[in-house]
Symmetry: none
Subunit: 217 residues, 4 copies
DNA sequence: GATGAATGAGGATTCATTCAT
DNA sequence: AATGAATGAATCCTCATTCAT
């Protein structure tokens, strides 16, 4: 390796701002161990900072830091789902693709979100409303044309189910390694999950399956 | 058990053994706040015990207590799925019914399990293998007759999806309250979720929906 | 091994009374780790007893147990030095022999005594007075005839020195292993120490220190 | 140092660094009560620090603190024995003088070292090798010219004996108070012990043990 | 004589946070 | 913007001891 190359790496590797280093460390650690399982010390240790006090120059307290981490993740997801309109199945598929792409590379975010959800998720409610609304309203519109399939009051359950299917796979990657047998984040497994999701969604949304309404009667 | 018997127990002013009191408190608190979010002090405070030291007479340490709580929950679930054979859709439905019945009354367990899963879930792997095998093998047999629907390598993804759908709803009840609008653990919502699950499973398993294999070609 | 032999061992090995088991465990542990470094739990664990409460049936508290252990050790030493009179060098040698014999087999006692001494040794003062008096008065008498060697006020320093030389070797066996090179409690090392002690005492007490080499021939 | 300078320091109201205060408190307490007999709380209480947590800013844990205390003591002793060469009896006497001077003012160190030795003294082995080597090799050289006195394999026993004689007196001062009758650390007693040590060493090393009385005249 | 359960006090260590530099 | 030092409160767990059985 040339001296320039080394310099380039040194330059490129750690010149992230302290703030970003903290956010990155927080994202990883909060995702892996949860809010209470991570100490400020742990986070600083994952950083070039040498002192916990420095951290408080960037975030007022642990809760603030957690929310900054969470919001950064949520914003990146929201930005990927932003433009939406038609509510066709194809559009749902597009969003699934984008989510799968993103979460496969940032499984920490999926974990973080599920953890926050289990904690009561008050911090998610705003974000989730914004975020799920697309999927949801797309579903709604798709279903508007297909309203023979699901009762209106079942739609939230369906939306929740989609959320669980999509995020749960990535959030639980570590556990699924045992169940699936191979690394659930490897390219083959991710593609398989993508296909599975699309097929499952197609089945949940399609008319061909036996009409839901009949069940009720 | 008669109504009187139940009342007698409720009356008897906590005749539960200390061990059970600890397990109950641990179950509730670990489910609500996660392992790291609960202190031994918190647990003892939910108990007739007057001292943390007493707790260590029953469990060697926090981790041991956590695992005892978890295993008690897993055992209760496993016992409800024990006898199975045919692998027909009806049987899957029966198991869904039992799980929904149990989890609706013990949403803590669903939370606890999802939390443990997010933590890597090593403690789940044995249990989950045992527990999922019925569901799984039922699915497999159901699918054996329906193998036109899912590729064999997709089956684990389907199994994981079923787990997420079933447990996720109850584990995330607190968050879903906003999304669903009403208390997701109220009788109506639970019935709706039960119907949704059965319908979704029917769709995921039925031939009528467009064959999965076609997607692959 | 025959069945009878096994039974004999089983019979002979653990039918020690609970009290003796406790004293033995205490002796070993207090010697190795000191009073504060040993917990009642540790002691009970070295015993057939299954509960700490049982221990309090035999000793009122930790301090009592410690003193019982210590006194048992001191009594055994005192009994070995009991009969004495003449104050000749030969008699001193006899006592050295007996102490070396005993301490080589019970190095714990040497440790225990030195530990107690470092702790201020109030519990030793009675015992030590009794115990050292023989050695001391022997020395005195030996010196009475040799009072040209040591000033009267130096005699206590000499007595202390003898105590340190004799007990210190066995008490610090573990450390001396490095210095001496071999196990200081092995038979050869013990014999060497015995010879060294006698030669040293001879030199400290005699008017004309005879060369050590002559002893060996 | 002038009397004024000493007063100035005493006046200056503990301007010792926190680290030094901790080391000093640790030295005193560990020496008096042993490692297990001292709590971090005790140490902090002997300090200007108001909180146990502050202590951990300077030492990672109790064991680290103990070793720092011990090493500081050992270093001070080693520095006093540093330069040595000839191996004559006079040089041995010089080192004895220095050790006596130091230990008479820092009896804690003698206690600390003997306690560590009783604990197995793994932490002493390096230090002791370095430290004893001078004394030892001096002894060896002195004996080289006097090798008619001790067998080579007896030399380690002699070295151990010298260590026990020198350190033991100061380490056991509290106990010896009863035996000796007066404060063993008072100037008269110290001088007497110094004379005793030199006379004893002379007798242990010399071919013709000159009568002790002559020394006094 | 033995035991299971309980308990108040204290063990070492870590927590998030603040402050002066 | 960063750091060394400090701190009150809390962490998990162990201590010696007692009591009812």
């Amino acid at each position: 390796m040339t001296v320039q190359a080394q310099a380039a790496i040194a330059d490129a590797d750690e010149p992230r701002s302290s703030r970003d280093q903290i956010l990155d460390a927080g994202e990883r650690l909060f995702a892996e161990r949860g809010y209470a399982g991570v100490s400020m010390r742990d986070i600083v240790a994952d950083t070039d900072l040498r002192n916990q006090a420095s951290l408080y120059h960037h975030f007022r307290n642990k809760r603030d830091l957690y929310e900054a981490v969470l919001n950064r993740g949520l914003a990146q997801i929201a930005s990927r789902l932003a433009e939406r309109r038609s509510g066709t199945l194809e559009e749902v598929d597009t969003n699934v693709d984008r989510l799968v792409d993103y979460l496969a590379e940032h499984p920490h975010i999926a974990q973080l979100i599920q953890r926050t959800a289990l904690d009561g998720g008050r911090q998610l409610q705003r974000a989730l409303n914004v975020m799920l609304r697309p999927l949801y309203s797309q579903g709604r519109r798709a279903m508007a044309s297909l309203e023979r399939i699901w009762e209106p009051e079942e739609v939230p359950h369906l939306a929740a189910g989609l959320y669980l299917l999509i995020f749960g796979y990535f959030a639980n990657a570590q556990l699924l390694k045992t169940v699936v047998g191979e690394d659930p984040l490897g390219p083959e497994a991710v593609e398989r999950q993508r296909r599975f999701l699309k097929a499952a969604i197609a089945r949940l949304f399609s008319i061909d399956a036996s009409p839901a309404k009949e069940r009720l009667t």
